[in-house]
């Protein structure tokens, strides 16, 4: 039973590197998957509850292209859209929101700029601010995990769980937690890490990183205590993937949204736009 009384959500995450959708392993992009639009339609099957799109290029050179991608996606997908990557200022945030984002995913810049999360929450509401935290195991920290920034490259000196409390205090409405070594590893979430986050803060926790089969999603909710379970890679290599994942969650007794299929004539829904 979810603590929020709302349904547990299934979130499909797209990683966009230099304008292409990619798969990652331990935060390194390993495989180009193709166009974001194809991926979203592939995901969609109309069963996913939310879509996350994260820009993970090393430079800002692809930002305009990324904003264009977000804009096109928002015309085709009718679920909440979370957008992140390079959110360092209200200006970037505004560009993403104008392009159709419902929520902003903030990570690296929130360490250097203590005001950032508060400024975004003030401007768009806490419900629109998702703090993303990448954790690496380190026994030197009391929770056993350190928060990492810059796509897991830099140690921040923050205990990951302490940092979760801090971002919630600053106004983050949700927290997405990923484990640096589980990312792309197919061994499931680090349930110990997810549980520590879920116990530490009152805001919803989104589990991310390492899903290799549908049981991992169930565990994220049941054992980890996550409100939402997210995955990226797995959806790319399984046909009708989000529907299967959703059915699996429902059959396991997880409280998920009813995603009945309805036939609807949408003659003007934008077509694929490959790029």
């Amino acid at each position: 039973m979810s603590a929020t009384y709302t349904k547990n959500r299934l979130i499909a995450v797209l990683l966009v590197y230099n304008g292409n959708v990619v798969q990652t392993r331990r935060f390194k992009s390993i495989n180009m998957v193709g166009s974001a639009f194809t991926a979203v339609d592939f995901f969609n099957g109309w069963t996913v509850d939310e879509i996350g799109v994260l820009e993970i290029s090393d430079s800002d050179d692809y930002l305009d292209k990324f904003v264009g991608i977000v804009e096109e996606l928002s015309r085709r997908c009718f679920v909440p859209l979370s957008v992140g990557g390079k959110v360092r200022s209200i200006e970037t945030a505004q560009r993403y929101m104008r392009a159709g984002a419902d929520k902003l995913v903030v990570n690296t810049a929130s360490y250097a700029d203590p005001a950032l999360i508060g400024v975004l929450a003030q401007a768009f509401g806490s419900q629109a601010v998702v703090a993303s935290i990448d954790a690496r195991p380190d026994p030197a920290f009391s929770s056993g995990y350190e928060a990492m920034s810059r796509r897991a490259r830099d140690a921040t000196g923050w205990d990951a769980v302490e940092w979760a409390r801090e971002v919630a205090r600053r106004g983050a409405g949700e927290i997405m937690v990923n484990h640096v070594e589980h990312d792309g590893d197919k061994r499931g979430y680090d349930l110990n890490l997810i549980r520590k986050f879920a116990d530490a803060v009152r805001v919803p926790i989104i589990a991310m990183g390492g899903v290799g089969d549908w049981d991992h999603l169930v565990d994220g909710v049941r054992i980890g205590g996550a409100d939402a379970v997210a995955a990226g890679n797995i959806f790319h290599y399984t046909e009708h993937s989000t529907k299967k994942a959703k059915d699996y969650l429902r059959n396991a007794g997880v409280l998920v949204r009813n995603s009945t299929f309805y036939k609807i004539a949408m003659p003007r829904r934008p077509k694929y736009k490959p790029f």
Partner: protein, 206 residues
């Protein structure tokens, strides 16, 4: 068929425009009340706070135009989120009077530790009540996507016309209908196929 979206200057109405533009209709964003003329359907999406919204509607002449077109001529109206709340006489969120089409006051969810978190955000069940026209093409149970801190109590005038209820510790009015007026607290434009089906039903009466 012209479908007018009421724009009162407070920002993001894009999702609603995007959703409606998928259908065989001419979507027109209406910055003033005069721009609502000739619309076969009027949609009022909710953005911002109650008072700022009502002031925006009045400053742009939307309140008078809505009274004339929606109340007198019966142009079908759909209020979404705050667009539902505007249909009431007022809200605990502010002091401005609403459009007053329903006699009730919008309330704030109790923000106390023993109550669920505010805002109510996420997917939740909507239970249809009576012969809800909006939901006639949906098969219960169905969910919609909610983001709100204020709600329409299931009492009096609102309860009489409620066509969908939702529970978030307390029961509240998720959707209501009266003649050609309809309002929903959730976001059909973010509610996948159930939302698109409901919008199709509103647009084409089928």
């Amino acid at each position: 068929m012209k479908v007018a979206i009421v724009d009162y200057g407070l920002g993001n109405i894009r999702s609603v425009v995007n959703a409606l533009e998928c259908f065989e209709v001419d979507v027109v964003v209406a910055p003033t009340g005069a721009d609502l003329d000739g619309a076969a359907r009027i949609v009022l999406p909710g953005v911002g706070s109650f008072d700022a919204g009502m002031r925006g509607l009045r400053a742009r002449g939307h309140d008078a135009a809505l009274d004339r077109l929606v109340r007198e001529r019966g142009v079908p109206y759909l209020g979404i989120c705050l667009g539902l709340q505007f249909m009431f006489s007022g809200s605990e969120e502010g002091s401005e009077p609403g459009l007053g089409w329903f006699d009730a006051k919008v309330r704030r969810f109790p923000d106390v530790p023993e109550a669920p978190k505010v805002p109510h955000i996420g997917w939740n069940d909507v239970r249809p009540v009576g012969n809800a026209a909006l939901f006639r093409n949906l098969v219960p149970p169905f969910d919609f996507y909610f983001v709100h801190s204020y709600y329409v109590p299931n009492e009096g005038d609102a309860a009489r016309h409620a066509c969908g209820l939702c529970n978030y510790d307390i029961d509240f009015v998720a959707a209501l209908e009266r003649d050609t007026l309809a309002g929903v607290q959730f976001h059909p434009e973010k509610s996948q196929l159930a939302g698109m089906k409901m919008l199709e039903t509103f647009l084409f009466n089928r």
